[in-house]
């Protein structure tokens, strides 16, 4: 009997060690980002790095200010959100509140497929179709602009917003809707004044994760954003976001050079931005769950 118990214990231990792999991986990612990224601060101070206005890593002397890249990411992300959130949240309302079950059964897998299209394909589509269209429409010297990237990213981030918002809407108890309808409210009034507020923190989570999705996107923005490292002043200018910079320049950065370390330091910045957004989303979800059960 006790041998059997030991064996069970051992098996549980093995499973535990596999469960810990993700945690260890996360730790290693941080460790190696720091190891390769921190040495840049021997060349340039952290504040100069973050807020320096020019990024010319190959000049002599090189300049490693990533503010233009941060602004590039910010422009594109804000633009993408302006597309993805209205589109995503209204779609979620449609799917959760209005659609016939058979439509839902068809549309949900379609959206899943949309989320599954590789970003390099979106990038290719943006390059061949969207960019020339934007160029003609606004009569620009190039169609590779922050706007192009924003539109593309908005469509790419929409599935994230839709699926999480829809979960939030579905978890609003049916009794809320019934109570509202029984008081004589129409379906639209019920949706806007009862269901939507009840699902608000879930929807905010969706928006934050959609934002994280837009910031971390790499290939599509690399291909359509244009790549200029100037601080952008309008959506019709080419920009170079953080992610694109890493991919575009790692090939030419010599291993161990300040440029190499600077690119890893950009990785650190990205890591902490997305970590922050994810923790915020996590916090909102938990508060939402507690509020939900508390009020019932």
């Amino acid at each position: 009997m006790s041998a059997r118990k030991y064996k069970e214990r051992a098996i549980e231990g093995i499973f535990l060690s596999f469960a810990l792999v993700s945690l260890v991986a996360l730790f290693f990612i941080m460790l190696f980002l720091f190891q390769k990224g921190l040495p840049i601060f021997r060349v340039i101070g952290p504040l100069e790095f973050l807020f320096g206005k020019s990024w010319y890593p190959t000049y002599e002397p090189p300049e490693f200010g990533i503010l233009p890249l941060i602004m590039g990411s910010l422009f594109i992300t804000v633009g993408a959100i302006l597309v993805a959130i209205p589109l995503g949240v209204t779609s979620a309302i449609y799917l959760a509140e209005i659609a016939h079950p058979w439509i839902r059964e068809w549309v949900k897998p379609t959206i899943e497929l949309l989320a599954g299209i590789p970003s390099v394909i979106y990038g290719f589509f943006g390059l061949i179709v969207l960019a020339p269209w934007i160029q003609d429409l606004f009569n620009l010297p190039t169609g590779l602009t922050a706007l192009t990237a924003s539109l593309l990213l908005g469509i790419m981030a929409a599935p994230t917003v839709i699926s999480i918002s829809e979960d939030a809407l579905n978890s609003v108890p049916a009794s809320y809707r019934e109570a509202s309808l029984a008081l004589g409210a129409t379906r639209w009034q019920t949706t806007i004044k009862v269901v939507l507020p009840a699902a608000l923190s879930g929807i905010s989570t969706a928006c934050i994760l959609g934002m994280a999705r837009a910031i971390e996107e790499t290939m599509a923005v690399l291909m359509v954003a244009g790549g200029a490292t100037l601080i952008p002043t309008s959506f019709l200018q080419p920009v170079r976001p953080l992610t694109a910079t890493i991919i575009a320049e790692m090939g030419e950065a010599i291993h161990g050079s300040p440029h190499f370390h600077a690119l890893f330091a950009i990785g650190m910045v990205l890591f902490f931005i997305t970590l922050g957004l994810n923790l915020l989303a996590d916090f909102l979800t938990h508060r939402f769950k507690e509020a939900g059960s508390g009020t019932l």
Binding site: L26, I162, T274
Partner: protein, 279 residues
Amino acid sequence: MRELIAFWCVRMAIVIIVAALGIIIWFLGKNGLSILSWEFLTEPPREGMTEGGIFPPLVGTLYLILGTIICALPLGVLAAIYLTEYTRQGKVIRVIRLGINNLAGVPSVVFGLFGLAFFVIYLGFGVSILSGSLTLTFMILPTIIRASEEALLAVPQTFREASLALGATRWQTIYKVVLPQAFPGILTGSILGIGRAAGETAPIIFTAATFYTPHLPRSIFDPVMALPFHLYVLATEGTHLEKTLPIQYGTAIVLLGLVLGINLAAIVWRARLRRKKRW
């Protein structure tokens, strides 16, 4: 009346989303399908990539998928078993879950940097199938864990109780009762993660991919050509952008077909499983 307009606006949003998918597939299909042929799939590129096929990148991508499945599936399933079958709500579980959630949020380009620093440089695997597969493994691990957890949780508690009541140990119960029931669900969920790995570019650029190799990889320590990287380079850096355009379309449609095929198979299979559920 106002209500009707509002409902139509809401419908428009979903139409736009679905239309976006339709336009992308239609556009690539219209321009890409005509170039597809048996030769395109089975021949290497020629004449500085302006002619010939995409055999090496296709094979490279399949190798990377295979390597990723071999590493990620066992890791993810075993982790999920611990989380669902041995869970005693506590600090350990909460910390593990936090780890998984945050690993899922790490940007793909950061995975690429990590793979470069750890597998390629520190462990000395070089730019290779091995480094690329391991990097992709960590990227899709959270997806596989979540899918497996969902499938394991869908097995009714009564199955476990019945088995334990018959005197089976916990491990026997997991191995002989829970896993066989959950297996199809685990697989369909995991396939969706694999589909993502197949189309990712950023994590493999520094860890596995090369623009051109004259021969197919001979070992897991060789670099490979890969479809997404092939498309990226042809579309942005080629010296003959116009001349390679048909090949770009062809590569895009093959990559899209591969990824959508993988995902569609998983989605259809999952729908059938849900309908057939016996409990």
